[in-house]
Symmetry: C2
Subunit: 601 residues, 2 copies
């Protein structure tokens, strides 16, 4: 069975040494995030995930969820108890507002924990993860009564939440929604329609499930400007807060999927279910995007999480499994063969995983800090800047992070040779589970268009210009340091590729928007590579400074510098190739008639 | 349920127009491959695969194989009947020698059919595929008596074959084999040991299974120089050729795997099973490599096959599914949304698949022709040249072809959005089935080392120099043609990257063999990209000539030229990035102590 250890040392490195979260102590919420508390959350949270959640990952995948004749759904053995422990320990309340029973800690800690949860058991993590998304929407758009009614029990974990967007005919294009909301005399709405792919839509972990549902009011515009958001509890909630009668929503079936078997993906049938409008009429999309943005960062973390746990197991296997000899001569002459970690191609895959996961962890936690700063920074200007930057980075974290996360999980499976293909080793599950993260919460193609079609142009390009300036300035500053200079110079070159690609978009996409569409995926990857490069520059800078001050943990910092070098040499070159593809434009991409794609017998 | 159509038009294009197989009519076997016969084999073979094998693919995956208490294994419903039809139609005998009941046709036709079989049902195709491997070894190394005893019934499909290499402690490193062969008084050997991952090791499709087994004679050298090959039938064969008593080999269990569920992957226990030496003592590895080389080409075709069938289904979905609007304005203003094939990012993925599958098909069929020429060309020199070239290309076809095949299958799944993750659509099966091809018959890391550590140096680099000259000459010749010049120029540039990488290996790998090991995987991909580029140049040249002669099928040739352009613009740029990674050498790859890979809590 695979194993998992939360990478607490590395998380502490990012939180304390790179991001220096303690320096934000003057901001609300951060005052309670003292070094001791940070240490406890990371250490104890990591242990909980490793000890309680990880052991249920393989068995949960094998058993899956079961839908019964009455429409009820049971989760795999052990999930209910683990969820109870999760709630009792308060792991779900970490970054939620104290007003509704949360601990009010910074999101940067919540995200750190989210990685551990997802590495240990991605399918489990989706249950509280979806609740978090629904909580965000109610916090932002719910009425005070709705907040009072639902949030305390959702935050405690007593109730869970879902996001209901997709319908059979409608995924990416929410303008196609058909679910109807008929106003009722009592101020509620009768919701009728079919929603599909509803993660955690029905299960046995909580006493109630609070569905947030996109639907159309009578006569609403026939586009995304005509959708509204409703809160539809599985059980109606009595005035005293107790759970009342069953609402008109039921699980019609659960999907057989490639992975995340332990999370129930439901078809939900709404049959005049009682719902209440959240926010304004026809403004449902904006409310949905609040959930979506939080969820997209969470999904980016899933890409990291599966790469990380797959990496850990591949390292253990590569040290244990013996085949062949080192190319430079036997490493262990007493034995009949060397451990496969001596082989450069195995090393290459492990180093690639290490460079990705550590860089991605830094990017996700920086992103989380930006979320905090977008709400809590001292000035409006700082808040706006942080908001614009995390808006820009969100599709990169989601899209690049999950593409590369899947590739790394696949490589780590490859380290196992034939054993990687066998279920009991657990490696193929990591690949199957990682795969969904490229698809849901907006496919990575949608992320690429969000980045290139919306975020680049946001406020006249202010966010991307700020990003360019930030990377450029940090490269310039680092070039004076002998150790950092090679990294800074090559990162600057990759930044140059991104800037050129951006300029190419500006010169061409107005004339032909297909040029933007055809290059968007390449651009997202270029920016992912540059973003992780920035993280590696920051991490190398800290490691370099620490080494100069003769720390206890010398090996840790030396490893950081060696891994930074690997990143420069092996990740950055792709930026140039991607730019060349992008600058080829859309002509060849769009050249064929649709019929030309058909297969002729 | 997914659908499949054999791409017969494109196969005929490669066989007849690009390779001009008819021009080899003077060689043995080719004389019977008249245009009519070629047409019939491709057309009828394709139809058989589409109509009989493809409908069993999804159900076979869901049901899988079952091992019963007595050690017998049953294949999924319908497989036995389909196999019977397959044998009756003679599809397994196509490229087998007439002497033993085969049809003696060129391998190039056999390989064309192999793609169709594997696209339609990869797990099914492995049963006759493994038989083919065993047949190759017996043809090359078996005694006349062994050939007479086993080959006719294996070629007819009455009996099947297997390859038994892997043991629990021994995969890539065959020197670690422990299975023993004790000489018996009657000239046979008693084989004892455990073999794992034996594809088609036990099943209900045939009356007998002929296992080819690597084992060690008493006192044999403790390395790959001490392994011998044995033929071990499941049932002993009587002198009259009838099936006799059960031999001492049994299936201990079948593996639960990520994919290819309909093929039984067996643990085979040999308990003093009666076996007979094939070829010479301690020369088993050479015999095994005969099987392996044929099998590796077959596995490369599997990479193509899953990409192809996934592509076909993605095209159908992209034309049918409506979400959003074309960036250039509504393509179908009457409807509420456009089919997603209008979106450049969807097009990009489809074009990528089309450029890969058509290029890869040409490469595989050229490879098959080289196999034919290595046996049948008129002069010893031509045969040796063909043998060296296919030796060089085999790890590229297997390694690059399956890496890219998996990536394409994954992209095609991505076209489906959330539906791609749901089993009933079949897309996730293509990904799971494609995954194994990167692993078995030597992982792709092993292929990369075979290419860089052995094949590049073969006969003082004669094969790679011949490859360089071939690509260089064809580029030079094409540059005078206005249409072909841009392709030829960019292919020449990519060739330059490969030549530089080769030179870098020569200058560095002698001093530090890890430099070779660290760059081998990159090199294999560079060569894959250049090889497919050569195929696209050849195909574009034919298309260009045909267009000049005003053919009936104008759209087909125009599509070829458009797809060639896509290939140039979107595949070739990676060659430069890969070279830069390779030339970074092994320092950063090998820098860390093994402990530095561990995760610190």
């Amino acid at each position: 069975m695979p194993s998992y250890t939360a990478p607490a040392r590395d998380t502490r490195f990012v939180v304390n040494e790179v991001l220096d979260v303690a320096s934000y102590g003057n901001l609300p919420g951060f005052e309670s995030a003292t070094p001791d508390i940070i240490d406890t959350v990371i250490g104890e949270g990591g242990r909980f995930c490793a000890e309680v959640l990880a052991p249920l990952n393989l068995s949960g995948d094998e058993q899956g969820c079961t839908r019964h004749a009455d429409g009820s759904v049971t989760t795999p053995d052990g999930f209910k108890d683990a969820y109870k422990q999760f709630c009792e320990a308060g792991w779900g309340t970490l970054a939620q507002p104290e007003q509704f029973g949360g601990q009010g800690m910074p999101h940067v800690l919540g995200f750190a924990l989210e990685e551990f949860i997802s590495s240990a058991n991605q399918a489990f993590g989706m249950y509280p993860g979806l609740t978090n998304g629904a909580v965000s929407a109610l916090l932002a758009k719910g009425s005070p009564e709705q907040q009072e009614k639902y949030l305390p029990k959702m935050i405690s974990g007593e109730w869970s939440g879902t996001m209901n967007l997709t319908e059979p005919q409608c995924g990416t294009d929410l303008g196609l929604i058909r679910t109807k909301a008929e106003p009722q005399a009592d101020g509620s709405y009768a919701i009728t329609g079919t929603k599909i792919f509803i993660s955690a839509g029905e299960h046995d972990l909580t006493d109630n499930i609070i569905h947030l549902v996109l639907a159309k009011l009578p006569g609403a515009p026939d586009s995304t400007k005509g959708i509204s958001l409703f809160v539809v509890p599985k059980f109606l909630v009595n005035d005293d807060g107790s759970v009342g009668e069953r609402n008109g929503v039921s699980c019609g079936s659960i999907e057989e999927k490639m992975g995340i078997h332990a999370n129930a993906t439901c078809v939900l049938n709404y049959d005049e279910a009682k719902g209440w409008l959240v926010g304004e009429e026809n403004k449902g999309l904006a409310a949905m995007f609040i959930m979506m943005n939080a969820a997209r960062l969470g999904v980016g973390i899933q890409g990291l999480s599966q790469a990380e746990v797959a990496y850990q197991n591949a390292v253990a296997y590569a040290k244990d499994r013996r085949q062949g000899r080192a190319l430079t001569g036997p490493a262990d002459p007493e034995a009949k063969a060397d451990p496969i970690i001596v082989h450069p191609d195995v090393r290459r895959m492990l180093m690639d995983a290490k460079a990705f996961t550590e860089g991605m962890r830094a990017l996700c936690l920086w992103g989380a800090l930006l979320v905090d700063l977008s709400h809590k920074a001292s000035t409006e200007e700082e808040r706006a800047e942080a908001d614009a930057m995390i808006g820009l980075l969100t599709p990169v974290i989601k899209g690049y992070g999950t593409d590369k996360g899947y590739a790394v999980a696949t490589d780590m499976q490859q380290v196992f040779g034939g054993h990687g293909y066998i279920r009991e080793w657990g490696m193929e599950q990591f690949v199957r589970d990682a795969r969904i993260a490229q698809i849901y919460e907006g496919t990575n193609g949608v992320q690429a268009m969000d980045l290139c079609g919306r975020k680049l142009a946001y406020k006249g390009g202010a966010a991307i210009q700020a990003f360019f300036k930030m990377v450029g300035d940090e490269c310039s500053a680092a070039k004076s340091d002998e150790t950092l200079a090679p990294l800074a110079e090559k990162l600057e070159k990759a930044l140059g590729e991104q800037q050129a690609a951006t300029m190419w978009f500006m010169q061409n996409a107005m004339k032909n928007p297909d040029d933007l569409g055809a290059g968007a995926h390449d651009y997202m990857h270029i920016m992912g590579i540059v973003s992780l490069g920035l993280m590696w520059l920051r991490m190398a800078k800290v490691a370099q400074a620490k080494l100069a001050s003769a720390p206890d943990d010398k090996a840790f910092y030396e490893t950081k510098l060696a891994t930074a070098r690997y990143y420069i040499e092996r990740f950055l070159p792709d930026a140039g190739a991607l730019r060349r593809k992008l600058e080829a434009g859309s002509e060849a991409v769009m050249a064929l008639n649709e019929d030309a794609f058909d297969t002729a017998a």
